[in-house]
């Protein structure tokens, strides 16, 4: 307790110098691991006490692509992602419309129920999902793995789209009606443009989750449905760090692009609830 006090007190009093040291070392600590992955994926003969690889090569990427079968794996990941996004978005639009625009008894309870999967460790229901998929022969199919992903993606889609629909201004629809637009026109010219950002956000969220999803994939994948995270995990098991690193770089680059994208638009606080593939 006394140590703790001294620690906090020191930070409070020491102000900037200590603060900058802390910030700088933290940033270093966060960035260095990625830098090491990147360097190892292009380094050759990096042994012993060397800070940097003595030689650069793209050999490990060739290995990753040829032996790790990356194109095939990438194709699997994308197909599964697209199915998962499609299903989640459909679920999300319907449920979002219901939650955001309609009155009904027990709405809060239903909402809480549907968001419950976020509160439970995924491995616990992944187990049951896998067991069911074994009996239904859904294991090692695109549809099966994608459906497993939906259990993670859909709650986020529902959350985002409920908020979107709730934010839709009734008066705008009325105004459109007054202007003489029929239902169909109203939907395409007024509603759709208004909810499009929400749908896009929900799709990006869902896709990122599916793309990064590890636990549920691990329990439902098979030789024909290896995804990027699984391929990387398997490579870790093989013990070739260079090839693993190359795969990790291939896998993480799209995530970084997405980070850059959302950093510009979204507030960080909002991400905390939402953004984790594990």
């Amino acid at each position: 307790m006394r140590l703790l006090r001294a620690y906090l007190r020191g930070l409070w009093d020491g102000k900037l110098l200590l603060g900058y040291t802390l910030l700088a070392s933290l940033s270093l600590l966060i960035l260095a691991p990625f830098l090491m992955i990147a360097l190892r994926s292009v380094g050759k003969g990096w042994f012993g006490r060397l800070w940097l690889p003595p030689e650069l090569t793209l050999e490990w990427y060739r290995w990753a692509v040829e032996v790790g079968n990356i194109p095939e794996v990438m194709k699997n990941t994308l197909i599964i992602g697209v199915i998962a996004v499609a299903v989640s978005t459909v679920i999300g639009i319907f449920a979002g419309w219901a939650f955001g625009r309609r009155q009904m008894p027990g709405k809060e309870v239903l909402m809480a129920l549907i968001l419950l999967p976020r509160m439970i460790p995924p491995i616990t229901y992944a187990l049951g999902v896998a067991k069911i998929f074994y009996t239904l022969d859904l294991v090692d199919t695109y549809l099966g793995v994608a459906l497993a992903h939906v259990s993670v993606c859909a709650p986020y889609a529902i959350l985002v789209l409920s908020a979107t629909f709730e934010g839709l201004d009734e008066r705008v629809l009325e105004a459109a009606g007054v202007c003489g637009a029929n239902t169909l026109k109203r939907f395409f010219y007024v509603v759709l443009p208004l909810i499009m950002p929400g749908i896009l956000a929900s799709m990006i969220f869902s896709f990122t989750h599916s793309y990064n999803e590890f636990t549920l994939t691990l329990l439902t994948y098979g030789p024909h449905t290896v995804t990027l995270p699984i391929r990387t995990y398997l490579a870790v098991g093989d013990g070739y760090w260079e090839i693993t690193s190359a795969m990790a770089v291939i896998m993480v680059l799209p995530s970084l692009a997405i980070l850059a994208m959302i950093q510009r638009r979204a507030e960080p606080e909002k991400l905390v609830g939402g953004f984790k593939g594990v």
Binding site: L11, S27, I132, F275
Partner: protein, 296 residues
């Protein structure tokens, strides 16, 4: 019939709209959970009969107890460390120091990167050939050999902190930023030095925010799977233990895995309930008893 339809059409439409979500919920969450629960009471490999053996075997086994203890140790330890790291960090970042945008971005990095990749990078960084040990051996006297971090329990705990502290940090920061600065000014004018202001005014007021963030860190750490799977070595928390039961033995021990899953789910729910109560109490105290009930 038409009358009935008219009276209930609105509710029926709502139900229809919710149908896909409910189907997904029951098919992909509720039924799997139920199945897991049922399986956990079935004798291993059978589809009929009831037994408590799966539970008793796991809970009586010292290894099983160690797994539970380890899970809590890692989750609570990393949560506590995250709080210790986040509070000063948030205090600094609040001051809009030069480059604070960059540092804020840095804090988000572990949130957005898949845990698998983070763990891989950390294993490389702390490995015998990693920069961490290179630095120690070249710049710190008396360290001649690599220091073991990977696959140790403290190493694993550090990985957890690295991966999951942003939840705590971001919420703490937003709690701090919504704090009225004039309160601190009032404290200082009243004669409190910076430390006393922190201790008597700032900390009590941001405690609900810290706790709310630390719940997220705790949940992530408690349920962590990919990270301990590749970076845990011999330390297997509950999630990994469940997976091992179906991945290692042939045939897979579904019932044993299910029993552990039920234990894990139950522990998390119970612990979360307790934690939420604590958070609510702290929130109530900080909000000044919120409303008429606040008179002590």
């Amino acid at each position: 019939m038409t009358r009935f339809w008219r009276a209930h059409s609105s509710n029926l439409t709502t139900l229809l709209l919710l149908f896909p979500a409910l189907a997904g919920f029951f098919g992909l969450f509720f039924y799997p959970m139920l199945l897991t629960l049922i399986l956990s009471f079935r004798p291993e490999g059978q589809t009929a009969g009831w037994t408590l053996q799966n539970y008793t075997r796991f809970l009586r086994d010292p290894d099983g107890q160690w797994v539970i203890l380890l899970t809590f140790l890692l989750a609570l330890g990393s949560t506590a460390l995250s709080v210790l790291l986040s509070v000063p960090l948030a205090l600094i970042l609040r001051e809009k120091v030069r480059g604070h945008r960059f540092y804020r971005l840095m804090i988000l990095v572990p949130l957005v990167i898949p845990g698998l990749i983070g763990a891989l990078g950390l294993l490389l960084f702390f490995g015998t050939r990693g920069w961490f040990n290179l630095f120690l051996m070249q710049f710190i006297p008396f360290i001649r050999r690599p220091v073991a971090v990977n696959y140790t329990i403290h190493g694993l705990m550090f990985f957890y902190v690295w991966l999951y502290f942003p939840y705590t940090c971001v919420t703490t920061l937003s709690a701090l930023e919504s704090l009225d600065r004039s309160l601190e000014e009032a404290g200082e004018v009243s004669g409190a030095n910076r430390w006393q202001v922190l201790r008597h005014i700032v900390l009590p007021l941001i405690t609900p925010g810290i706790l709310a963030g630390s719940v997220l860190t705790f949940m992530a750490a408690f349920g962590a799977f990919s990270v301990p799977l590749i970076a845990g070595g011999n330390y297997r928390p509950l999630a990994v233990e469940i997976y091992k039961q179906i991945a290692v033995p042939i045939p897979a021990r579904w019932s044993a895995a299910s029993a552990i899953a039920v234990v894990m789910g139950a522990l998390q729910v119970v612990f979360l309930a307790l934690y939420m109560r604590l958070v609510r109490r702290a929130g109530g105290a900080a909000a000044g008893g919120a409303g008429a009930g606040g008179v002590r």
